[in-house]
């Protein structure tokens, strides 16, 4: 029975433990509950992946009503992969959360913090598995609201402004998506995504659908932080509480990207999105601009958190570019990189959080010599950083390899060269950190710094080891991604 109910269970585990968490006064107990719930949902996510492995699709009817009347939950390999992404990386971050919160927040607030965290996770899970367009909007809002609250909890007062800006941008984006959904509904009379996909092609010339597509693209681009709508991201990531950044960087934009892929390929259809609306003409230049601008800006940052945030802008550019290139390698790269980058960035931000935990700042000058004072944390950081650069045998290499192959498959040599150059830029900003960490003297006030407690160190190292693992065994990442890419593209041809 459990196996058939899994799609609901994976969501409910986190969604239901959130209110219970909020009621527990004692932060430690709340944490234990949260841990229990998220690790169970990790198990559920893997169980789902094993059910859909090979390309089957699960359909679960909420309330027992068949679609399109009721709301359908659909799990295929792509959503299962994203589920693992959310639950696994979220669980790792939560594991480190208790220790890292201890220094920044009064204990009775912890439970609320965990509850918000769980809500955000639950919402992202909800978005991932739903098969109903309007339901996407509902869960998108839960995730957004919890994200705003989480960001606003940052220590710097600029966190508040960052959160507010994100709230405004995010709400506009969400409302745009709502308009897009309304337009689709207007023309087709249905909200079920699979049903929409069937009914939309005959309306491809309808101006309403075209407008719907435009609204959707702008709205989701805001959420994905596609250049030039990335404006909210660097500040939000920089000023958010340190562990929160790790979680957000891993999940929020990735799930938005997932929604983008779902709608572009599955709902609107490749034919419409690319042949008719020429989405690639728009996305390719924008993503390239994002890659270059993000990498360039990252190089010149002296605050590591901000540096990593800008690097995220660039890395998201890679993923969008992968989508826009519209061939199997490109899409494989986008999906793989979605997973890999989530893992590496979460790990990097978590490692950085560990450093801030000890040093109290993420400025390069304070991190000087940290390779000597916190050798284990820094070593993990270097591995993850290598992944970001795309060093072979790390996960980052796999996704970049596919992306460059995609560019070469198209015969676009300059683009491939550009990607290599941007990798060099990534190398430059990671090298900058490594240089500070290992080859600069430890500032006097940080002489007594030592490695963080095991409870933070373990998740950091799990991220680092996973980065290597997924650089070697790619059945679950690139393997799945390739099948997904073929499936998504074959709908058109």
């Amino acid at each position: 029975m459990i196996s058939t109910q899994l799609p609901a269970i994976v969501l409910l585990l986190t969604l239901l433990s959130a209110p219970i968490c909020s009621m527990i006064r004692n932060g430690d107990h709340a944490w234990k509950l949260a841990m229990f719930a998220v690790w169970l949902s990790v198990a559920a996510a893997f169980a789902l992946m094993s059910q859909v492995w090979g390309g089957t699709t699960l359909s679960y009817h909420m309330g027992g009503w068949p679609p399109p009347w009721g709301i359908e939950v659909r799990v295929d390999e792509l959503s299962a992969l994203v589920l693992i992404l959310i639950t696994l990386f979220g669980a790792l971050v939560i594991s480190a959360l208790r220790e890292s919160l201890r220094t920044v927040m009064r204990s009775h607030r912890h439970s609320l913090y965990y509850a918000t965290f769980l809500l955000c996770m639950a919402a992202l899970i909800g978005i991932t598995i739903t098969g109903d367009a309007f339901n996407v909007f509902v869960f998108l809002e839960i995730s957004s609201l919890s994200t705003y609250a989480l960001i606003a909890r940052g220590r710097d007062r600029r966190a508040l402004v960052a959160a507010f800006r994100y709230l405004i941008m995010g709400t506009i984006g969400a409302t745009f998506i709502l308009i897009a959904i309304g337009f689709m509904y207007m023309v087709t009379g249905t909200l079920n995504m699979a049903d929409l996909a069937q009914r939309l092609p005959e309306h491809a010339d309808n101006k309403v659908i075209q407008a719907s597509f435009a609204f959707f693209t702008v709205g989701i681009a805001l959420k994905v932080a596609v250049f030039p709508l990335h404006y909210w991201l660097p500040n939000a990531y920089t000023y958010a509480p340190k562990a929160t950044t790790a979680f957000l960087a891993a999940t929020a934009t990735k799930v938005a990207l997932y929604v983008m892929i779902r709608f572009i390929f599955d709902v609107y259809g490749v034919e419409f999105s690319f042949s008719q609306m020429r989405l690639d003409m728009l996305l390719i230049p924008l993503s390239i601009a994002g890659i270059l601008l993000g990498s360039m800006t990252a190089i010149f940052q002296s605050d590591v958190k901000r540096l990593l945030a800008w690097s995220s802008v660039a890395q998201l550019g890679y993923m969008v570019l992968g989508v826009a290139l519209l061939n199997t390698s490109g899409l494989t790269s986008a999906v793989t990189h979605m997973f890999n980058h989530a893992m590496m960035k979460a790990g990097l931000f978590l490692a950085l959080a560990a450093m801030i935990y000890r040093v109290g700042s993420s400025n390069l000058r304070d991190l000087a010599g940290i390779g000597r004072t916190m050798p284990l944390t820094t070593a993990a950081f270097v591995i993850l950083g290598a992944g970001l650069v795309g060093v072979p045998l790390t996960a980052g290499f796999i996704s970049k390899w596919y992306l460059v192959s995609a560019a070469l498959d198209k015969g676009w040599l300059p683009l491939a060269a550009l990607l290599i150059i941007s990798s060099l830029m990534a190398l430059a900003y990671i090298a900058k950190i490594v240089d500070a960490a290992y080859f600069q003297p430890v500032p006097d006030q940080h002489q007594n710094v030592r490695d963080v407690p095991v409870s933070i160190l373990t998740p950091v190292w799990v991220f680092a080891l996973l980065t290597i693992y997924f650089g070697i065994d790619t059945r679950m990442t690139a393997g799945v991604a390739e099948r997904v890419a073929q499936a998504l593209l074959s709908v058109a041809s």
Partner: protein, 318 residues
């Protein structure tokens, strides 16, 4: 008229009047909804737009001040372009939209007919909106309760639970004329008369949602409004004595869990999540009980959340 109100809101720099106009605007909207046959929505819009959000705005303005500076000249260009682009896109799209009110529009052809034709048999309540809301798309509504709950947790995380107490008599935040207000005894008397019926009305709306417009959400909002009114007139402290924030803070979670509980129960009974057919032996009864309980969950959560948020704002204003 809507447009006129909206434009005035843009032009005015006095936030107070902007907020008041906002309330008026919401009322107008709810009239339009009424005309468009969306009674439930009209009801909600009136309670939320004209009621709850106005109160929130007032509470916030009491804290942050009432006037805004004019926009710098150079800063209007980008927004203007963006607006016009959006408008143009919408305008472009509007030419292919089905004509307003036409019965053969696709929306009326595909999914909706089943709701209208079969829901009395399949679900029960004559109010189709309730059937769709609570049963067909009960999962959405579950998410919606989640949104409300998230807002609650978020506000709590940011502003605190509103449990700080001090010896000083607290005054209502939204009402900036509280001194003069308190002198108006007549108002108190009247409001005493009003509050009780409002509470009763809220309960009525809660249970009557099956048949007429209404349901847990509207009831929750109305219930909260009654408390707001009480707090505005008597001050926040008596209100908090009536409904202690510490206890109230549990209720949103309880409501959400109640809702989910029904879903989980139906899962345990062998159905899917939120499949009320399995709640009782007879599917028809099951649907009935299921909707009743989840509406109660919605009502509890919404009312508790609104009051909690209100408390949180109030605490900050001093």
């Amino acid at each position: 008229m809507l447009v006129a109100t909206a434009v005035t809101i843009i032009r005015t720099r006095k936030l107070m009047s902007a907020v008041m106009l906002m309330g008026f605007y919401s009322l107008l909207c709810s009239c339009i909804f009424m005309v468009l046959d969306a009674v439930d929505v009209a009801f909600t819009e009136a309670a939320v737009g004209a009621g709850v959000s106005t109160i929130f705005f007032l509470a916030a303005i009491a804290i942050v001040g009432r006037t805004s500076k004019p926009t710098l000249p150079g800063k209007t260009v980008v927004p203007l372009i963006a607006c016009i682009a959006t408008g143009a896109l919408l305008f472009y799209a509007s030419f292919d939209m089905p004509y307003f009110g036409s019965a053969d529009a696709p929306v009326h052809q595909h999914v909706a007919p089943r709701y209208l034709e079969d829901s009395p048999q399949e679900v029960g309540p004559p109010n189709v909106v309730t059937s769709v809301l609570a049963s067909y798309r009960g999962y959405d509504t579950f998410g919606e309760v989640g949104v409300v709950f998230t807002a609650f947790i978020g506000v709590l995380l940011l502003l605190g639970a509103g449990t700080r107490r001090s010896g000083i008599e607290r005054t209502a935040p939204g009402d900036t004329n509280d001194e003069s207000m308190r002198q108006k005894i007549v108002l108190r008397e009247v409001s005493d008369l009003v509050i009780a019926p409002v509470l009763v009305f809220a309960l009525y709306v809660q249970w009557h949602g099956d048949f007429g417009p209404g349901g847990g959400f509207q009831a929750g909002v109305i219930f909260a409004s009654a408390i707001f009114l009480y707090a505005l007139i008597y001050g926040i402290v008596p209100a908090q004595k009536l409904l202690p924030p510490r206890k109230l803070a549990y209720l949103p979670g309880v409501g959400l869990l109640l809702y989910a509980g029904v879903g989980v129960y139906s899962m345990l009974m062998g159905g899917n999540f939120l499949d009320y057919d399995f709640v009782a032996a007879d599917p028809h009864d099951g649907q009935h009980y299921g909707i009743l309980i989840i509406e109660l969950g919605v009502g509890i959560t919404v009312a508790a959340v609104m009051i909690n948020i209100f408390y949180s704002f109030s605490e900050r204003s001093l």
